[in-house]
């Protein structure tokens, strides 16, 4: 199955997933920053450096998982978490698109008032 296809299905499962809201929290942002180094982490590894309990970290991870930014992978008895950059890349592309439209619109405004 292609990557794109998979993400479409994920999007369907979470049709109104508020990715931005999930990232609007310092702990979750810090977790994403750590996970984005590219390899799966256990909850114990992720808890290091945070003044939070495993339970609290797990709760944050579940929020990130629910919007598709983080995936959990089972290895033996343990769950490990890994980063899925796609939803964030898509948000960035979306904002870039809107931003680009504004650049065009504002440059037309500039010519319009300066002429």
């Amino acid at each position: 199955m292609s990557h794109k296809r998979r993400s479409r299905m994920a999007a369907r499962r979470q049709p109104r997933a508020p990715v931005f809201a999930a990232l609007g929290d310092e702990t979750r942002l810090a977790l994403v920053a750590k996970l984005s180094r590219g390899h799966p982490y256990s909850i114990s590894q992720l808890t290091v450096g945070f003044r939070l309990t495993r339970q609290a970290i797990t709760k944050h991870l579940r929020v990130l998982e629910s919007v598709g930014i983080v995936r959990s992978v089972r290895t033996g008895r343990e769950s490990r978490f890994e980063f899925d950059p796609q939803p964030m890349e898509e948000i960035k592309k979306y904002l870039d698109l809107v931003s680009e439209q504004w650049d065009q619109v504002l440059s037309r405004l500039k010519s319009f008032v300066e002429d």
Partner: protein
């Protein structure tokens, strides 16, 4: 995570000139490339349609929020609502604000669009997929068109 867009533009024109370009619906229509049905009124729905070549089927709808003369013009709308099959009205709109400040050489325009955190992620993905990455090319076409006709 950054969920707003901010732009600063220096305009070599007096604040009064920029204010008119922003709030007179005919002038607004010329640079924004939209044909509006009537004047902007705070609290009221502004309707019209896009006049971009190729996007004429797209409706333009915004609710004017604030009109503080020569200082602030704002409206809420649904960004990127280009698919006629989708009813965007149930979604939380974003807020667009144009703030003006007098400078030595003219006017500083600060544009912000905020509230992207409320846009459903499936809509964002769809907006992107629908264009299949071709939006940049489309914008270039428009740019060329504008350069040729202006």
């Amino acid at each position: 995570m950054n969920n707003r867009i901010e732009k600063r533009v220096e305009l070599k024109a007096p604040v009064s000139r920029v204010w008119r370009a922003l709030t007179d619906y005919r002038e607004f229509g010329q640079w924004f490339r939209v044909k509006l049905d009537g004047p902007f009124m705070p609290g009221q729905l502004s309707r019209g349609h896009i006049t971009y070549p190729g996007y004429e089927h797209v409706k333009w709808e915004a609710i004017v929020q604030k009109m503080e003369p020569e200082r602030l013009f704002s409206f809420t709308w649904h960004p990127y609502s280009v698919d006629p099959k989708i009813d965007y009205s149930k979604e939380t709109p974003t807020l667009v604000e144009f703030r003006l400040e007098k400078t030595a050489s003219g006017t500083l325009l600060l544009l912000t669009e905020s509230g992207f955190d409320k846009i459903p992620s499936d809509r964002r993905l769809e907006a992107f997929r629908m264009n299949d990455g071709g939006w940049t090319d489309q914008m270039k076409n428009i740019e060329n068109h504008v350069a040729q006709t202006s």
